[in-house]
């Protein structure tokens, strides 16, 4: 009933969920059941790539929640993505156990290399998967709570907020590059062996992670849809369109923004956590300001203010990027730059705005 009510007016969302269901059925069959020689066989490379795109779509969804619906442009969402990823990475590091280069069961390789004698306190507990999962939610959420509380309370808005978030991700990048931080410095965390006891490079594990990602994205989509259709979502959009007016109507603008920000950060953290086991590495590069701003452009290309637009944008931009960086590696930055300019000037509603006028109407009266 609820789902029906939510998606009655969201045809794009139905399509996205339908496609996700199709992926969930087709990918395992094409990878595991179809023999390798067959033209229909899907390689693990493609599965991983698709999985990566799905993670990006989840991240784009979280950005769209805050930018498209909340009107808050965060240029530092890579921070939450990265934190989620590091939490997962720490769990995977602990799973390596004795199989590291130095064969030390108590310490990850890079700590042995740095002559550390014991595990730092903040690594405690990461042996356990539930704890790591909890941290995937808590670490980005807590940072978003503190940062958002500080920022929104003092009414930092618009470009000021964007710049501050960019500074945040820049600061964290610098911090994580330091070996003393205990997160592997420049190299980050890598060389993972298994997850929940399954070897991480095995085809079946990869398909498993892929399915989890599909499920997570679908669940997140429904959750986002639920939030945006709720009373909370309506107030958030009112704040986006006329902050002062919403405040004068008696709404606690700061707390609405804050909880939206935290929700978005948790989603970003989840996408980071799903991303790491698929690509097999997490390093401070994820915190680079360029990454965060690239994520914003996914949403802009897809069409902000529509949830399925974010998903479309993440897929479209990343597919183009994959194709470009292998065909014309030199020209990718030219293309990306031009994309930034053209989308902002010519396509303020993104690709989905081109496709249907319904999308435009929906932004105005959801």
């Amino acid at each position: 009933m609820l789902i029906q009510r939510l998606f009655l007016s969201d045809r794009g969302g139905m399509v996205v969920l339908g496609l996700l269901a199709l992926l969930a059925i087709a990918v395992p069959i094409l990878t595991l059941a179809v023999p390798e020689g067959s033209a229909l066989h899907m390689s693990t490379y493609t599965v991983t790539l698709l999985g990566k795109f799905l993670c990006y779509a989840l991240l784009a969804l979280s950005l769209d929640m805050i930018w498209g619906y909340g009107g808050i442009l965060s240029l530092g969402h890579g921070v939450f993505f990265g934190l989620g990823g590091y939490c997962m990475g720490m769990y995977l590091m602990r799973q390596i156990g004795k199989r590291g280069v130095y064969g030390n069961a108590d310490l990850p390789d890079f700590m042995v290399f740095l002559n550390w004698s014991e595990l730092p306190w903040y690594w405690a507990g990461f042996d356990s998967f539930p704890f790591a999962l909890l941290m995937v939610v808590l670490a980005p959420g807590a940072l978003a709570l503190v940062f958002g509380w500080l920022a929104f309370r003092s009414r930092v808005t618009g470009v000021y907020l964007s710049i501050i978030t960019q500074a945040l991700t820049y600061a964290l990048m610098l911090a994580f590059f330091r070996n003393e931080m205990g997160f592997g410095g420049n190299n980050g965390l890598t060389d993972f062996k298994d997850i929940l006891g399954f070897p991480i490079t095995a085809d079946s594990t990869r398909v498993g992670i892929f399915l989890t990602t599909v499920l997570a994205l679908a669940a997140a989509y429904v959750a986002c849809r639920f939030v945006t259709a709720s009373r909370f979502g309506r107030v958030v959009m009112a704040i986006r369109d006329a902050e002062s007016r919403a405040r004068f109507c008696g709404y606690q603008v700061e707390s609405y923004k804050l909880w939206l920000f935290v929700f978005s950060a948790v989603l970003a953290g989840l996408s980071g956590a799903l991303f790491v086991p698929q690509v097999g590495i997490i390093n401070p590069g994820e915190f680079s300001p360029l990454n965060s701003i690239e994520q914003v452009i996914w949403v802009a290309v897809g069409g902000r203010g529509t949830l399925y637009g974010a998903v479309v944008g993440a897929f479209a931009v990343n597919y183009t990027k994959t194709w470009f960086t292998s065909a014309y590696p030199e020209a990718w930055l030219f293309a990306l730059g031009t994309l930034f300019v053209l989308v902002t000037i010519l396509l303020p509603k993104g690709l989905v705005g081109l496709l249907s006028r319904r999308a435009t109407d929906e932004v105005k009266n959801p």
Binding site: A151, S154, V159, Q166, A167, Y170, A171, E330, V341, T344
Partner: protein, 547 residues
């Protein structure tokens, strides 16, 4: 230069092996006293035929004569650069210290061309003669009319161990020395010599006199005395003197940090002024600002390639050239992109970020992704030495001054020109400004051009401090945004205070926290700071502020 002298000595030894055979027999044969001539020229000529003992007497006479040529002849002799030509009439020549040395007549100063074209036998010196020459030279230099020579000689004596023979000479000179700096240095030299005295009382007084002297040699000597001196009171006095030196050094380290902070601040100021204009006045976040700085730096590089022989001139010419290039690029950006996005700051931010990516890649394609080296003119290298532990490098000093000049020019343009007036009018109330006949979009173009031009100028300055590469702009953009956020948008004085205080804060945190952590702490500080003052140190007042 230091390498040259030993090289030259070696060269002389290799070139004239003949002197050894010639002079050795001379030493044995005649030892009878010869009546020495009193004329400078005759004395110098007599050096050739004399044995070592006689040479000793002759050089003493030369020093007493205090002829203006004595200094050059004696120092040339000490470094084996004094010689005789083999042709007739024989000339006494001085060989210069250059790599391909020139020869000149020791008596007339007349240039004789390259030394390699002549056959020159150098006039030999032995160790005792060398010692004698050093003392004589010290005396001559300390009595030289030129203050700079006296100061250099006195400073040299601090690092050399002073012979007891020179000591009375120094004391005598101290009485007549007019210059206070030379006097102070001489006192230090005498005190240093005093620390070697047998009498502990004399040593204590000497140590007391050394208190507060910043020369590293003095510190080393005092440290040695504080632990090793046989007299306990000398040890304690030395410890006290060391403590006073350490506190003085701490003070100058503080000054040094302050200067580094101001220097960093001046760079930030240059980078942020343009940003403050475009952001503050037009409300446009220009993420490509850093790349405009980079364009300025590359303009400097290109100018230097065009005029490779006049580095100074090319640098000066780079300032207007970089300003022009960056301003034109800025105007193109404004007309081509930003114009369509007024009133949509977040989209402007994204579009200009795209432009910054394009510009970076453009530079990579044209100039290669590697860093380019821009050389500094001679008047920007070297440093201004204030005391032995504190010196200011000229390039940083000049850039600090340059940044302030640019800043004051900007405030002048803002306050006292028609453009400035219109600019402020448009910033305050666009509709009203248009109503009274200001062409607002024209003002936008000029404002953006001005802000971008300043970015180009910043690039010229940066090219003198760091390598010029495609990422040059990126590394400064976040910092300069922080400056604008801290200072308050659109307020030039806010930008000045913001830039300098951020620079100083950064440099003072660095020694305690390390460069990276310092940067992080500064960012945290700014995030906390805007809790108190969300619109910066100097927020815009009035209706414009809420727009």
């Amino acid at each position: 230069m230091r390498l040259l002298i030993p090289c030259l000595l070696l060269l002389n030894l290799l070139a004239q092996p003949a002197w050894a055979e010639e002079t050795l027999p001379l030493e044995e044969s005649e030892t009878a006293t010869v009546v020495l001539p009193t004329d400078f020229g005759d004395l110098v000529t007599a050096l050739v035929e004399a044995d070592f003992e006689q040479r000793r007497e002759i050089v003493n006479h030369l020093a007493i004569l205090s002829d203006h040529r004595s200094l050059s002849v004696l120092s040339a002799m000490l470094e084996s650069r004094l010689g005789r030509t083999s042709d007739t009439p024989m000339r006494i020549v001085i060989v210069s210290k250059d790599q391909d040395p020139d020869a000149s007549d020791a008596l007339t100063g007349e240039s004789l061309g390259k030394a390699s074209a002549l056959t020159i036998d150098s006039i030999a010196v032995n160790n005792s003669l060398r010692g004698e020459l050093r003392t004589l030279l010290a005396r001559l230099q300390l009595n030289a009319p030129d203050t700079a020579i006296r100061l250099a000689a006195a400073k040299q004596l601090i690092s050399d161990d002073v012979d007891t023979e020179i000591l009375p000479l120094l004391q005598e000179r101290l009485k007549t020395e007019p210059d206070s700096k030379v006097k102070a240095t001489l006192t230090t030299v005498i005190a240093m010599a005093g620390t070697a005295n047998e009498d502990p009382a004399v040593r204590s007084t000497a140590v007391q006199n050394l208190s507060g002297e910043l020369y590293p040699e003095v510190r080393a000597k005092l440290e040695e005395l504080a632990t090793n001196d046989i007299a306990v009171e000398v040890q304690s006095v030395a410890k006290a003197a060391l403590a006073s030196i350490v506190s003085k050094i701490t003070f100058y380290r503080f000054m040094e940090n302050l200067f580094f902070g101001l220097s960093l601040g001046s760079v930030l100021l240059l980078a942020a002024i343009g940003l403050s204009i475009t952001f503050g006045v037009m409300g446009v976040i220009n993420m490509a600002h850093g790349e405009l700085i980079m364009l300025g730096a590359y303009t400097t590089y290109v100018m230097q390639q065009l005029i490779p022989n006049h580095i100074g001139a090319s640098l000066v010419l780079s300032i207007p050239a970089a300003m022009l290039v960056a301003a034109l690029a800025g105007i193109v950006i404004e007309r081509g992109v930003i114009r369509f996005l007024y009133g949509r700051p977040l989209e402007t931010l994204l579009a200009t970020f795209g432009i910054s990516l394009i510009l970076q890649q453009l530079v990579r394609t044209i100039f290669s992704p590697l860093n380019r080296q821009v050389s500094s003119p001679s008047w920007m290298s070297g440093s201004l030495e204030i005391n032995p532990v504190w010196s200011l490098t000229y390039n940083r000093l000049i850039i600090l001054i340059f940044a302030l000049v640019v800043f004051f020019l900007m405030t002048l343009i803002f306050k006292h020109t028609t453009l400035g007036l219109k600019l402020r009018a448009v910033a305050q109330n666009r509709a009203m400004a248009r109503a009274v006949g200001v062409r607002a979009d024209w003002v936008d173009v000029l404002t953006f051009g001005l802000g971008s031009g300043i970015a180009g100028v910043a690039g010229v300055a940066l090219s003198q401090l760091t390598n010029v590469g495609p990422n040059l702009g990126q590394s400064y953009i976040i910092d300069s945004f922080m400056v604008v956020v801290l200072g308050g948008a659109g307020n030039l004085w806010g930008t000045l205070v913001g830039a300098l205080s951020l620079g100083i804060l950064n440099k003072f945190l660095e020694p305690y926290a390390g460069a990276v952590l310092a940067k992080i702490l500064v960012l945290v500080f700014i995030i906390l700071f805007i809790q108190k003052r969300p619109r910066g140190l100097f927020p815009q007042k009035g209706r414009a502020a809420e727009a």
